[in-house]
Symmetry: C2
Subunit: 204 residues, 2 copies
């Protein structure tokens, strides 16, 4: 890329740490801020500094928050008997946006990956069984991603919770709503066929 001036170059480089932002777009972003929205740029700098310095993890569910206990865990209306285990805070948001789930969450911040040095300790799994017992959890929903590592993680958690009284379930995997069979990969279709369910017939 063409170098502009030291401070602008530094801004363009820094913007490229954002996911999906390459050199050209970073340049456009930097010049946009400096030409048209310095107030917004200053606000973003402040928001970034504050979030980076103060956001930690919820002591209960491990999702990201700066208040010690996140809004979901602090909400007495959420059903403590249901615990949904997900890989990332983004998954919590995705499930909340889908609506219909009223239980609690547990965020792993990753998945088992011995090659990358990610084990049960890093994922907060060592005291999960005790936590499930203490909180009176009746059903644990394994919502890790349907990847090899996500499946291995779900399997590991299943083993780890074997001695607890909680039921275990795995979110259904199959053809997404609105998806068309001809565009879906073979693995998903095979999975959807294996996981088929009886159709309850209405009164004829």
């Amino acid at each position: 890329m063409i170098r502009v001036s030291p401070l602008i170059d530094r801004l363009i480089d820094a913007l490229q740490m954002l996911p999906g932002v390459g050199p050209k777009w970073a340049t456009r972003m930097a010049l946009y801020v400096l030409q048209h929205n310095r107030e917004g740029g200053a606000a973003l700098a402040g928001a970034l500094s504050a979030a980076v310095a103060e956001v930690t993890r919820c002591r209960e569910c491990r999702t990201l928050c700066e208040t010690g206990l996140c809004a979901l865990c602090a909400n007495p209306k959420r059903d403590a008997r249901l615990l949904c285990i997900v890989e990332s805070p983004m998954d919590v948001i995705a499930i909340e946006q889908a609506g219909g789930y009223s239980g609690r969450y547990y965020v792993l911040h990753g998945r088992l990956s011995p090659i990358e040095g990610v084990g049960p300790v890093e994922l907060g799994l060592t005291d999960l069984a005790g936590r499930v017992r203490e909180r009176g959890v009746e059903e644990v929903i394994l919502a890790t991603n349907p990847t090899v590592e996500g499946e291995a993680t779900a399997h590991y958690i299943g083993e780890a919770l074997a001695e607890t009284p909680a039921r275990l379930s795995r979110i259904a995997h199959g053809v997404p709503l609105g998806g068309e069979l001809e565009y879906i990969d073979g693995g998903t279709i095979a999975h959807a066929l294996r996981g088929r369910r009886s159709v309850v017939r209405g009164p004829a």
Copy 2:
């Protein structure tokens, strides 16, 4: 969007002032920074603060820089007899990346738009004729975008420089009409520069 925590929500909102970033992507960016790259986030905050506070305009060509005189204007190897007039700093970068141009620039930071209150004063056009004379410019290349307003701006500049000895040229219309310089590939831009043609001056 689902609200997460005050500081994270503030960061997600602030990220949306970046061009092309909507709520969902801002959420992904915010969580990515907090989960995986806090150092990068802090660096971006610092770079933004510094750039917003210190970047002003080059006193010679009006492009964005914090050093008073930009690197291009400070470079004695750039041909002062050629002056290329563009709408934005992004256009300077686009032309520099295309290569092949060795003259100087003049950045309007916009185009004539009476509806939006953008006139010759805002575009720095009031003393352009004097500047062209003083600097001994022999050719002024009008590289405003081939939009209605860009053409009107080029026409206005042509009139304003009618009394100067400088030749006037317009970049060739290899650039598609309605397109914007910053989105055009370098080859087309280089071609348009080489194919520039003299502007026929109206009766003085």
